[in-house]
Symmetry: C2
Subunit: 246 residues, 2 copies
């Protein structure tokens, strides 16, 4: 059962100050599951080169795939390319193909600011697909995605197509009950012991009309997930659970 | 100009799998700004003790305040208390006051699972306010908040009241323009050079009717923020900006 691991690095003072609400992580998390890739760690840092360098080094060494979000535009607070370069001791250079695309796009209105968007760490690849012609910068296992949610989603398609499927898709099942976690605990412990390969989650809901706790069962082997879910349901007292979903 | 720094640690497979959308970070970020506290780093990890221990040690040593979100319930996947204890080499013990409250609340229905919620790292404090009697666990500079958004918000009030104001509130101003970042860059560079104490942000918007780029000016000295914003506006060509806000 093959599995690849991923981490994300979100870059931007606007996220840490609450000025802009982060929207990309949940999209990334959900996009990776069908590929059999597990997002295991996220770091969010300010627009500070040293902080980004430290995080890129840590994540790039520890995970198969690293996705950065933010800091790739032309202004003073866009320092991701420079920082990723430093993380790999790679000087930042203007990429001829990107530069030509930018000059072509802006024509006579092209500024030094626009041309900053042609900068890449030396040795980086430009990734594209048939549908998304504007390249995404990849430096080894680190993919540099923009923070603007519409563009992040677009570029994520490029990543998915180029990275490909690493293993079986994760499948998930859920059960909703009226029991609280204190009473559920021994039942869950029994299922966890019996199904170490299935991830069992328990999520209480406050002030919800239809249930008190949602239980989830996740894994890469659909039959095992189903069996774990059924084993849990068999332990419930009469009248439970309220509801199932797949 | 005093300033305190903060970091957050979000704990939970449900966030990293995209099963549940993270809602607490933006609330935390916005709550800290009026206190003069700057959220500088966030780490999101799975429900894995060693990962939590490593993150707590790193953040607790580097920031004035650390807020954790998630993993404080009674089930097998709730390992935050144990991990925070390990991070400070403190054994986990049942707190008599918490235990009495839990027994009082559940009465004859009280289970071992419920009593797990009385566990705290040895040496932890219980923080309350007049309005929020159920205690919040604090271990040195680390505050353990639950991940359920309604409860996180409630406990955040306890943190705010007990932590208090560290310095002047951050103030922010915004200007919306029809210019793109490539053309804005030299104007922004001039303002950044003149106002190193004001944080200048630039946020492009795709497909927006009324503006192309939002510029923000943030700092703890209202007069300097105002001056930086005005200096930027003075550099804009005729007809710009579209709009101001405070």
């Amino acid at each position: 059962m093959s599995l690849k691991t991923a981490a994300a690095l979100v870059i931007g003072n606007e996220i840490l100050s609450g000025k802009i609400e982060e929207e990309n992580l949940v999209v990334l998390a959900r996009a990776l599951r069908p590929l059999g890739v597990r997002l295991q760690r996220v770091i969010i840092v300010e627009d500070v080169i040293d902080e980004i360098v430290r995080a890129v080094r840590e994540l790039s060494a520890a995970y198969d795939l690293v996705v950065t979000s933010g800091g790739v535009g032309p202004t003073h607070d866009d320092v991701t390319v420079e920082a990723v370069g430093q993380a790999f001791s790679a000087p930042v250079v203007s990429h001829p193909h990107l530069e030509a695309m930018i000059r072509g796009h802006y024509g006579s209105r092209c500024t030094d600011g626009h041309l900053r968007m042609a900068l890449v760490p030396s040795g980086a690849s430009l990734e594209t697909t048939k549908d998304v012609a504007w390249p995404t910068i990849r430096m080894r296992n680190v993919w540099l995605l923009p923070g603007v949610p519409e563009i992040f989603r677009l570029k994520l398609e490029v990543l998915k197509e180029n990275f490909g499927r690493a293993g079986p898709a994760f499948v998930t099942r859920a059960v909703y009950t009226q029991m609280d976690e204190g009473h559920l605990r021994p039942l869950l412990d029994a299922v966890v012991a019996q199904f170490p390969d299935v991830e069992v989650g328990s999520y209480p809901k406050w002030h919800h009309d239809s249930y008190k706790t949602k239980l989830t069962f996740d894994g890469q082997e659909a039959q095992r997930v189903k069996a774990a879910c059924e084993a849990f349901v068999a332990l419930l007292p009469d009248g439970e659970p309220q509801d199932f979903s797949e």
